[in-house]
Amino acid sequence: MLELRGVSVLYTRDARPALAGVTLDVAAGECVALVGPSGGGKTTLLRSINGSVPLAGGSIRVDGVDVSTLRGPTLRRLRTRLAMVAQQHDLVDRLRVYQNVMAGALGRWSTWHALRFLIAPRRHELEEAHAALSSVGVPEKLRSLTSDLSGGQQQRVAIARALVQRPSAILADEPIASLDPLLGEQILRLLCRLARERNIALLCSLHQPELARRYFDRVVTIADGMLAVDGAALRAGGAGPAHVR
């Protein structure tokens, strides 16, 4: 699970903070949507959880571990517990689908294991890839060349890679931005179902507030680096600060 407390981020050349005191919790198995205007801080927030953006203030805990104190190998180990799903184009298109899927396991594999897998994958590894692909609905693509897949199929493969990572949380940055609306809804439904089934915290930035309200447990709005509205909090009748829970 994710615990953010007063997270602030300053990009040096920008006078305005990219994030200003964001406090937010996402529990295991909970699906939280992050909506708001472009440049409002959605991507920065997701990247800061991953340890890719240095914090100017506040703290981020993943499974109780403070992200900002981690460097090098310990940060790498933390990242194995956080799966990222991006807009698109983040698969290696020259690889086979099963290779992209099992790339999710790179964090726990030794370098030697990883290289051996590229040349000679073992049966149980292929079975794991197959299982992950089955749960995203494209098991038949196991050995296809990734570049031969459609945009929607590629996004499913990216989610399968995230599952193979066995994460505590999935951080999805506009995962449906480059898909047509129908496909996009399918992907959102899939993400939320998998997160609940597997008890994974899901934090997903989105452009469409109506989709966010339809599929997610909670919707938070971020603008100018600050959280504005927390859906669950509003529904519970409290109009207070963004952080409730």
Partner: protein
């Protein structure tokens, strides 16, 4: 071990002023002619003037004679000295500049050119207002790359009597003055580095490129051929006709060709084997900047030393033969390929790499699962292009005792068997033209037209 202590005495360095000047002068004069002739030819081809296909074929076939082979011809015809070097460089680089610029013009954006043509503009106007501005950055990039090549070539043409540092180098090797050899190699690396920097400057401030005009003109004037030598040249050239080989020489030909091709293949393989595992560490996206920079410098040095100079040094240390030749090609190729591979990794798409890194993967798995498959196309094409280039280079290193067709050619020249020499030139030409043609077809099938190389 004296090779490892360069001779940097003031007296020797003073002695080097003239050869360094000659080397720079040959490169400048050669490139001045190459641009002066190559650009108009390229414009004629680029605007599809009548007979432009013939021009393309002429340039391609001229380019298929390696620069050093041209230099040997030039030394025979024009006589020893920098004049021969200028002639050889001017011919080779006119073909190279003409051909590559023509390709750039032919593939320039069509719409603005059609608009110009619709106004009834002349070819010159279309070139000045359309072709040149549209392709300027590519022209400058390739132009400075060609100049760098010309500087290296200017050193090697000296090895067959073209004057400059090459002549000095061969002299020092023959005199077993290895400390001077090291000095010369250091000077050469420095010269290529300076040219590289200057090229980067010209790309930023194109006007600086005009410096080539006075330097080239002065050098051309200093090396102008006399009237007497022109008549003499015609006579010598007549003596080469018709090219002929005796029967035993014809019988030996397949073995010579096999040796040359073997050197090219072995050298490319060695270069790739040295460059592939080290090049990721030379990419700043993969390795710590300090390590990347260090490796880049090592590649730069390996690259700055031409195949022939590697060959000269190796022949002294490990003896003559195709093996030494292949290693010479391999060391230079390792520098070139290392740089190009590293650049291919730097240019790999960002998103998939970021995705792999976000899984907590270690560096080497990220390279294996990400950088290598993503950059596979450029890696293959660069290697194929190097193989193509190494066929030329293999014919050249043969001249210093590495065997193959080049050695036969050089021996014929040394013995004044000019008709045999010309026959070997023609064989070399056929071999290189064939490999160029095959390589170009292969690259086009892979969807790659232009490759930088060095």
């Amino acid at each position: 071990m004296t090779l490892f202590v360069p001779d940097v005495s003031a007296a020797y360095l003073r002695d080097l002023i003239v050869p360094v000047g000659e080397t720079i002068g040959m490169a400048a004069a050669g490139m001045f002619v190459a641009f002066a002739l190559g650009i108009p030819i390229a414009v004629a081809i680029g605007t599809r003037a009548p007979g432009f296909r013939l021009l393309v074929a002429a340039l391609s076939s001229l380019r298929a004679i390696p620069d050093l082979t041209l230099a040997i011809l030039a030394v025979v015809i024009v006589g020893l000295g920098p004049g021969a070097g200028v002639v050889a460089l001017a011919l080779f680089y006119t073909a190279m500049v003409g051909r590559v610029y023509a390709d750039l013009f032919l593939t320039a954006e069509r719409a603005p050119l059609e608009a110009l043509r619709a106004t009834g503009a002349s070819r010159v106007a279309i070139a000045a207002f359309g072709l040149l501005p549209l392709t300027m950055s590519d022209l400058l990039t390739f132009g400075s790359y060609a100049f760098e090549c010309a500087m290296r070539a200017s050193i090697i043409v000296g090895a067959v009597g073209g004057g400059g540092l090459g002549t000095e180098l061969v002299g020092s090797l023959n005199a077993l003055a290895y400390h001077r050899v090291l000095t010369l190699i250091l000077v050469l690396v420095a010269l290529v580095a300076i040219v590289d920097r200057f090229g980067a400057l010209v790309r930023r401030t194109p006007r600086l490129g005009l410096l080539l005009v006075p330097v080239g003109l002065i050098s051309l004037w200093l090396n102008r051929p006399g009237l007497f030598s022109f008549a003499h040249a015609l006579g010598v050239f007549g003596g080469m006709l018709p090219p002929a080989l005796r029967l035993p020489e014809v019988a030996a030909l397949p073995a010579l060709i096999a040796q040359t091709l073997g050197m090219a293949l072995g050298g490319t393989l060695l270069g790739a084997v040295l460059a592939f595992p080290t090049s990721p560490a030379a990419a700043q996206r993969i390795a710590p900047p300090a390590l990347a920079l260090l490796l880049r410098r090592i590649f730069d040095v390996a690259r700055a030393i031409p195949e022939l100079v590697w060959g000269l040094v190796l022949v002294v240390s490990i003896g003559t033969g195709p093996f030494a030749g292949a290693i010479a090609l391999g060391l230079h190729s390792a520098g070139v390929l290392g740089k190009l591979y590293a650049e291919s990794f730097e240019n790999a798409p960002v998103a998939p790499i970021a995705a792999l890194a976000s899984t907590g993967a270690r560096t080497l798995p990220i390279v294996a699962f990400g950088f290598v498959p993503l950059a596979l196309g450029p890696l293959v094409v660069h290697t194929l292009f190097r193989l193509e280039w190494n066929v030329r280079a293999a014919a050249i290193v043969g001249m210093i005792g590495a065997g193959g067709i080049g050695q036969a050619l050089y021996q014929a020249q040394q013995l004044f068997f000019y008709r045999e020499m010309l026959a070997y030139v023609l064989v070399t030409w056929g071999l290189v033209a064939l490999s160029d043609w095959l390589g170009e077809r292969l690259r086009l099938r892979l969807g790659w037209r232009f490759v930088a190389s060095g």
